[in-house]
Amino acid sequence: MSMLSSFLFISAGLFCIGLFIVLSKRNAIQVLIGIELMINAAILNLVAFGKYDKLMNSGQIFALFAIVLAAAAVAVALAIVLNVYRQYKTIDPNKVERLKD
C-alpha cells in the first residue's frame, strides 16, 4: 500500500469518527470537536494530494485557508454556545428548541 492511499484511509477513518461524534454526543462543545475532526480529515486529504503539486502548491494553500476558516468558525460557534448556556442553562443541542422566548 502506497503512502497516498494510506493518507486517504487515515483521513476516511478520522472523518467517520468525527461523524460518529457529531451524531451521538449530547454536548455542543463535543459536537464542535467532531466537526473539527471532519475538517481535519478534509485538510489531510488536501495536503496529501498537494504533495504531488510542486509548482503551484494549491493543496497546501487551500489547507491553510481551511485551517483559518475553521478557527474563525470555532470562535463564532463558542460565542454562540456561551450565549445558549446563558439563555437555557444547558448546552445539550437536543434541549435547545426555542429560538426566542
Binding site: 469518527i17 460518529f20 451521538s24 475532526l37 495536503v47 497546501q60 485551517i67 483559518v68 475553521a70
Partner: protein, 180 residues
C-alpha cells in the same frame, strides 16, 4: 520497511486511536485533551506530506488557539451541566447512539470502497509528478510567492471573513447590559 514508514504508521495510528478515545471518553475535559493529541499527530502526518508550513500552522492555530478557546468555553459553561452529562451513558454503544454508530460505519465502508476503486496512484498527474521527482526544494518560498500572486484574491477574501467572524464573536459574547 524504512524508519520513515514506521514513523508514518505510528503517527497515523496515534491519530486514529486518540480520535477514538475522544469519541469514547466519558470525561469531557479528557476528551478535549485527547483531541489535542490527535491534532499533534495530524501535524506530524502533514510533515510526511512535505507540508511543513501547514504543520506549523496547525500547531499554532489549533493547539494554541482553538483548544484554549474550547477549554475556556468548557470552564464557563457551568459545573452542574458537566456533571449531569458525565453521569449519563456508561457504555460506548447504547441504544441512543447505535444509529449514529451504524451511520458512521456504513459511511466508512463507502469511503474505503471509493478509495480502493479510485486508485489514486494511477491518476495521470500524480504519475507525472512522481516521474519528475523532487525538483523543487524551496517549498516555503514557493507557497509565499503563490499566495501573493495566484491566490491573492482568496487570501484577501479570507482576511475579510476572518475579521468579520472575530468581530461577530466579540459582539455575541459580550455581556448584555439592558436585558429585555
Amino acid at each position: 520497511m524504512s524508519i520513515n514508514q514506521v514513523l508514518f504508521y505510528v503517527m497515523g495510528f496515534t491519530a486514529l486511536a486518540s480520535a477514538l478515545v475522544v469519541a469514547a471518553s466519558k470525561n469531557l475535559v479528557r476528551s478535549v485533551f485527547m483531541f489535542f493529541v490527535t491534532l499533534f499527530a495530524l501535524a506530524g502526518l502533514y510533515v510526511f506530506a512535505l507540508a511543513d508550513f501547514v504543520a506549523v500552522t496547525q500547531v499554532v492555530i489549533y493547539v494554541g488557539g482553538v483548544l484554549v478557546l474550547m477549554l475556556f468555553a468548557f470552564m464557563l459553561s457551568g459545573k452542574d451541566t458537566l456533571n449531569n452529562l458525565q453521569q449519563r451513558g456508561s457504555k460506548f454503544i447504547t441504544l441512543h447512539n447505535f444509529s449514529a454508530f451504524l451511520a458512521a460505519v456504513l459511511f466508512l465502508i463507502v469511503l474505503v470502497n471509493a478509495i480502493l476503486k479510485a486508485e489514486p496512484e494511477k491518476l495521470n498527474w500524480i504519475q507525472l509528478s512522481v516521474q519528475e521527482g523532487q525538483t523543487q526544494t524551496d517549498n516555503l518560498g514557493n507557497i509565499g510567492v503563490n499566495l501573493m500572486t495566484r491566490y491573492l484574491l482568496p487570501l484577501e477574501i479570507i482576511s475579510i471573513v476572518l475579521m468579520m467572524a472575530l468581530i461577530g464573536a466579540v459582539h455575541l459574547s459580550r455581556k448584555e447590559e439592558h436585558k429585555a
